[in-house]
């Protein structure tokens, strides 16, 4: 029954917009019909960021979050303190930022939480404090291993109301993409995607559209060979595994409505091939989902936004979408497990 548990929400970098979008989302919980969550943060920081308008906070254990959610923002206090320096990231907050993530994962793996939802972090203050992971996602994979799970290959999915897109390569220079793409990488990424679409998204027979790399998917090799030499063999290998994959498709025509109706997720070869359509279709509502981990993790698809933190202009739309999707995925996992 672990997945009926409330969602664990990390605070992210407290100098960014994480605290205020968490507060704003809770205040508008009825408007958005939000599922219950608890925030892993320092109560003093949250109170200070609530500003002049009063905020009802309940210091809780995860088990109490659901019962308190309607009248107070459930908050699980961290051991580490977070200093409130709005807009100015500080390495002194690294311990609290990391503790918030660690405890969300621990709670979810032990069944006290249904899923992990993370607010944005920035790399620099963490790096300055000795953190050595390329990003959030890699750290989460590390935590899964630390808790005794098999080594995982985390896969990033951008999930919006109209498109699910999975970039096969992510934060690397465009010039490196053709070198980083291998048939094996595409097959592994697609298999993890198909597996989570079945087990967590509740799609019995997921259909995967695989993009080409080059203009017009190479036009038969006239504009690059990768589509024929690397991507097509991956599509064929996936089909042999019984996965309904097709492609490589020209990237500029595979995202229009008629094309989107033919697949459940698009596998894209590089970051912007996935991000351009995801943001064009649903700028505020796109959610970052990490597939392939032994727990569910979603996050809003934006950064810390230090430049607007504390100014009251940050929008909680993407966090709201991340919370709702996390709940939906956790519920699906129960029904299909």
């Amino acid at each position: 029954m672990r997945n009926r548990a409330p969602l664990a929400l990390t605070v992210g970098d407290p100098s960014g917009i994480g605290p205020e979008i968490a507060i704003d989302a809770w205040r508008r919980r009825k408007e958005f019909a939000l599922p219950a969550f608890y925030l892993l943060a320092d109560p003093d920081l949250i109170e200070s960021r609530a500003g002049s308008s009063s905020l009802q906070i309940a210091l809780v254990a995860p088990e109490e979050a659901e019962a308190r959610f309607s009248d107070a923002l459930p908050l699980v206090p961290l051991a580490a303190r977070l200093i409130d320096k709005c807009g100015i990231p500080d390495r002194a907050n690294a311990a609290g930022i990391i503790e918030s993530i660690d405890r969300a994962v621990e709670d979810t793996l032990s069944g006290r939480a249904g899923a992990v939802v993370t607010c944005p972090i920035a790399k620099k203050p963490l790096y300055d404090a000795g953190f050595r992971f390329p990003g959030h996602t890699e750290y989460l994979a590390h935590l899964a291993e630390r808790h005794g799970h098999a080594a995982a290959m985390p896969v990033m999915m951008l999930a919006g109301p109209d498109l699910r897109a999975v970039p096969v390569t992510i934060h690397i220079a465009l010039a490196e993409v053709p070198k980083a793409l291998t048939t094996e990488l595409i097959v592994r990424t697609a298999a993890i995607t198909a597996n989570d679409l079945r087990g967590r998204f509740g799609i019995a027979k997921p259909r995967l559209a695989i993009s080409g790399l080059n203009p017009h998917a190479g036009e038969g090799g006239a504009m690059g060979r990768e589509d024929l030499d690397i991507i097509l063999p991956a599509v064929l290998a996936l089909q042999r595994q019984g996965i309904d994959a097709f492609g490589p498709l020209p990237a500029d025509t595979m995202f229009h409505p008629r094309a989107r109706a033919t697949y459940d997720a698009a596998l894209c070869m590089y970051h912007d091939q996935a991000l351009i359509p995801a943001k064009a279709l649903a700028f505020d509502e796109t959610v970052n989902v990490t597939l392939g981990l032994p727990f569910i993790r979603t996050s809003p698809d934006h950064g810390t936004a230090f430049d607007i933190a504390g100014k009251g202009v940050a929008r909680c739309g993407s966090l709201v979408a991340a919370l709702k999707l996390a709940r939906q995925l956790a519920d699906n996992e129960v029904t299909t497990a």
Binding site: I170, H171, I172, A173, L174, A175, E176, V177, P178, L213, N214, P215, H216, G218, M223, G224, R225, E226, A251, D252, T253, F255, H256, Y270, H271, D272, Q273, L275, I276, P277, A278, K279, A280, L281, F283
Partner: protein
């Protein structure tokens, strides 16, 4: 050269070459002739075959109201006219297939329209979609419209393809090349040249003070050099050089939001680094109304950005919006050129 306008001196004459007859081109031509938006902005001189055009009107459920004129004598009437080349018997059309017959029809109409514009009889050329394979059957060595025009009219200048969505233009530094070659082909000079050409073409279309955004190459525009150095070494310096030359240009910006920013903040153009960077966004934001415009020519040439749509040929369901937008853009450019008292 003075551009040709209608008898009231207001609407430019625009040649509309009928494109590939096996797809939706015939019904698009018929819909353009019947379009009040087109009629308000331009006077069409349709080039093709009346029988094929009648077929298109029938598919679209329209009565065809267009007079035929003899070649070269367009006359002062206010309504659209057809130059009937009598060059294709409907019985010879294989619907939904690229054929030599279809390609020959399209090549003849397109050539005729370009010659009319070259002679100053019309102010601009538009055409309904062509099929590349059919064009190659009819015109061996056919590569794309730009090359075709260059050879036909023996032009030496560079022709630049723009994709236009509503009021935002997209130009790209590299186009039909493998993705692995993109980074190597970027240079400050190439980017600066594209900025200049885009600004020139925008001015020709009547935009007095063009404002441009330039996309980065890498994820998050390189994130300060974390994922690639091209933004710092090449694109940024090119933008700075353009700004120093007095252009209103900003960038490099992350490619996943640059079009949304351009649309929101009223920029006139986005310069992208590679084919799909612009094409994905443009086709997604406005698949039904995108226009391809060929700049750097003595007169505007515009066409809908979509293709021949063989799968829905003759069904009468083709959306004419992009074709209308193509004529409207050509009309705006021709009118701007006319107001300047020169050629486009």
């Amino acid at each position: 050269m003075n551009v040709k306008v209608d008898d009231a001196g207001e609407r430019p004459l625009i040649a509309l070459a009928m494109g590939d007859p096996a797809g939706i081109s015939p019904e698009l031509a018929a819909r353009l002739i019947a379009s009040p938006r087109v009629a308000a902005a331009a006077r069409l001189v349709v080039i093709g075959d009346r029988r094929i055009l009648e077929g298109g009107a029938k598919a679209a459920g329209l009565m065809l109201g267009i007079a035929t004129v003899e070649s070269g004598v367009i006359g002062p009437a206010a309504s659209p006219v057809l130059i009937d080349l009598r060059n294709l018997d409907p019985a010879a059309v294989t619907v939904g297939e690229a054929t030599l017959t279809g390609g020959t029809f399209a090549v003849e109409n397109f050539s005729y329209a370009l010659r009319l514009a070259e002679a100053g009889q019309v102010a601009a050329v538009c055409y309904t979609p062509l099929n590349k394979k059919a064009m190659r059957f009819a015109h061996p060595g056919y590569d794309d419209e730009s090359r075709f025009i260059q050879e036909l009219l023996q032009l030496t200048g560079r022709i630049k393809e723009f994709n236009v969505l509503d009021t935002v233009w997209n130009a790209r530094v590299t186009s039909h090349i493998p993705l692995k070659d993109v980074a190597g082909q970027l240079s400050r000079e190439a980017i600066l040249a594209e900025i200049r050409l885009t600004v020139d073409c925008l001015k020709q279309s009547g935009v007095e003070a063009p404002r441009l955004l330039v996309a980065g190459l890498n994820p998050h525009a390189g994130d300060g050099g974390s994922f690639g150095m091209e933004e710092i070494d090449i694109i940024g310096p090119a933008v700075n050089a353009a700004v120093a030359d007095g252009f209103d240009v900003s960038g490099p910006l992350p490619a996943d939001t640059v079009f949304l920013t351009a649309l929101r903040d009223g920029y006139h153009a986005v310069l992208t680094m590679y084919h799909d960077q612009g094409q994905i966004a443009m086709k997604l934001i406005g698949f039904d109304r995108g226009v391809t415009m060929l700049g750097g020519l003595p007169f505007p040439v515009c066409t809908p950005a979509h293709g021949t749509a063989y799968d829905i040929a003759g069904e009468g369901i083709a959306n004419p919006l992009a074709s209308e937008e193509a004529v409207l853009l050509a009309a705006r450019m021709a009118t701007a050129a006319h107001n300047r008292g020169g050629s486009a």
